[in-house]
């Protein structure tokens, strides 16, 4: 069976030459942000992409969104190569792959009401009927846990708490009923007491509705909670991939071990090994 998302030996390189002269005439130096990565995400599956800053995890996420061209390799959604789509296919792709950003303070337009934030994608994708747009926006907001949605529609992002804003961002992402959701550190800006709600929400999209989720984060604690499988990235390569609980309990690669060992332990009874 074709997985929802398949990444095969993908490479994303960036030019490391700065300045016009160096770009034109200097020796071509490159940063291999993603250097031969293969990964699959099935419908209803949550796959974690773990790694430290600069490991290439966000570059890979953006490559899946077609924001970064590939140097080599292939990325396909529902079996269709995202770089050889016709106009119609491209529109489908943009509807079925959605992104939730890290910072809900920056990802929502401060001059848009909640309704406009959530309904905008519908307008872009050709929903001309205002009544239907409203109904879909209400449905998405309630789905994202903002109930009753009518209380939120006319408010602005600055009137909402961080958790509520992230729910608006999620409502915006799900309003088009995507098949694949890419969540880039979706809870790292949020307080602990509201994190759980957002994570449970993402989990329910996967388990109840079959949405595939690529969960990008350096926080193994939340990855452990939400992800079925986890892939650990280091210097542009996946160094370890497996069932989450297996990887966390029995890391095989030294880098995975380092990532796990760096997490401070919350419970004094499980003091971590001293360095």
């Amino acid at each position: 069976m074709t997985p929802l998302l398949s990444v095969e030996d993908a490479k994303v390189y960036f030019s490391a030459n700065t300045g016009f002269i160096a770009q034109m005439f200097g020796p071509q130096r490159e940063v291999k942000a993603v250097d031969g990565v293969s990964l699959a995400v099935g419908g209803g599956e949550i796959v974690g992409l773990a790694g430290a800053s600069g490991s290439g995890k966000s570059s890979l996420a953006f490559a899946i969104l077609r924001h970064h061209p590939l140097r080599a390799g292939r990325i396909a959604v529902e079996g269709r190569d995202i770089w050889s789509l016709d106009k119609e296919g491209l529109r489908d792709f943009r509807r079925s792959v959605q992104l939730v950003f890290q910072d809900p303070y920056q990802s929502l337009n401060p001059r848009f009401t909640v309704f406009r934030c959530v309904a905008e994608p519908l307008a872009i994708h050709g929903e001309r009927d205002a009544g239907k747009r409203r109904a879909r926006a209400v449905e998405a907001l309630e789905h994202a846990g903002l109930r009753p949605a009518e209380d939120y529609l006319e408010r602005y992002p600055h009137e909402l708490s961080g958790g509520q804003r992230q729910r608006v961002a999620i409502a915006r992402a799900i309003v088009l009923r995507p098949k694949l959701l890419i969540a880039d550190e979706p809870v790292s800006m949020l307080d602990v007491s509201v994190r759980a709600g957002i994570l449970r929400l993402l989990k329910s999209f996967a388990k109840d509705e079959g949405v595939g989720i690529l969960y990008v984060s350096h926080d193994l604690g939340t990855i452990r909670y939400i992800c079925d499988r986890v892939a650990v990235m280091h210097r542009g390569k996946i160094v370890e991939v497996g069932a989450t609980e297996d990887v966390i309990r029995h890391p095989q690669h030294p880098y995975t071990r380092a990532l796990i060992d760096a997490v401070p332990e919350v419970d004094p009874r499980y003091a971590r090994p001293a360095a």
Binding site: V192, A196, G197, L199, L220, I248, P264, R269
Partner: protein
């Protein structure tokens, strides 16, 4: 005598929309060499307490009955010049988002040299030597001391702010979210450097953070704050292993460790109360699954439950039973429609 004694500290911000009671009658003290973690969610008042200790709050924000006694001096009665001699010099600060705390157009070494000169510490070659040894102590290459902040990575900038704080040899240090924004591996390294420095110098310190893990590993005591009040304070191991306040229990449920068994994540339903008025009862009562009538009408006093361990809950005597119940997701879910 404690190095720092905070008594009855209240802070009210005057805003266009009316007063905001950010800190409400908070008391705690630290002995020399002690360490305290101030934990709580956004808006619980933890950063405001740090600012009060340095007296960098707007004029009139600190309540009239508040007292902050540092090394025998009442900070709130000092003049501006006397306070300036303490700020940074005797009470050091590692600011929040230290990533942006360095002046982008000043070389890091010049910044540190200026701070030392202002306080009449080392100058000239002696200052340069001090900066070199500080750079080495925080894990930075001393040869990069004259670089500009933009030439440093986030972790390096963080280390530079730590070097800056220690350059003035404070006896007391406030670290406000010292590693927020760094990835786990860099966070771990930076915290270890910081821990080594405070240990070597016997610095008394407060870490302000929302990360219980950081406190669990680095602070001897912890104060859990909510809506401007201290809910629970005590030795870190006691508070985290046997919390006696339902808020602490709820907060812990949200933390996902890697070393214990897998468990369900449970969030506290609802949101913190408005801070525009003083609450007649416990500020947590609206979100607390164990709240009863008394919680809404009477402020629970911060009372001792074990040696050095205080809790502001009317039902602190039933803490063991509440802990068992609070571990069940249904306890918190019931209130979530």
């Amino acid at each position: 005598m404690p190095v720092l004694a905070v008594e009855n500290l209240s802070v009210t911000y005057r805003t266009a929309r009316g007063p905001v009671h950010a800190v409400d009658r908070v008391s705690f003290s630290l002995e020399g060499g002690d360490s305290l973690g101030l934990v709580g969610e956004s808006g619980c008042g933890k950063t405001t307490i740090g600012k009060a200790l340095l007296r960098i709050l707007p004029e009139g924000a600190i309540g009239p009955k508040s007292r902050i006694v540092f090394e025998g001096q009442d900070l709130l009665s000092l003049g501006a010049n006397e306070m300036r001699a303490i700020r940074g010099r005797r009470i050091g600060l590692i600011p929040q988002s230290a990533m942006n705390a360095l002046d982008p157009v000043v070389r890091v070494s010049a910044l540190i040299r200026e701070a030392m000169a202002v306080h009449g510490l080392a100058g000239g070659r002696a200052a340069e030597e001090r900066i070199k040894s500080l750079f080495a102590a925080v894990g930075l290459d001393p040869d990069r001391r004259a670089h500009y902040p933009h030439m440093f990575s986030g972790g390096m900038r963080q280390r530079a702010t730590i070097a800056l704080a220690f350059a003035l040899e404070p006896t007391f240090l406030i670290a406000d979210e010292p590693t927020t924004g760094l990835d786990v591996i860099v966070q771990d390294q930076v915290l270890k450097e910081l821990a080594k420095l405070v240990r070597q110098r016997g610095t008394t310190f407060i870490i302000i953070t929302h990360d219980i893990g950081v406190v669990a590993e680095h602070c001897r005591r912890v104060a859990v704050m909510y809506a401007g009040r201290v809910m629970e304070i005590g030795p870190t191991a006691d508070v985290l292993v046997e919390p006696t306040h339902p808020y602490t229990m709820g907060l812990q449920n949200g933390f996902l460790g890697l070393r214990g068994a897998y468990r369900e994540i449970v969030s506290i339903p609802g949101a913190p109360p408005s801070l525009s008025e003083i609450h007649p009862g416990c500020p947590f009562c609206d979100r607390c699954p164990f709240a009863e009538a008394v919680c809404r009408s009477e402020v629970p006093p911060l009372a001792e439950v074990a040696p050095g361990h205080f809790s502001a809950c009317h039902f602190r005597d039933r803490a063991a039973a509440l802990r068992a119940q609070s571990a069940e997701p249904e306890t918190w879910g019931r209130r979530l429609a």
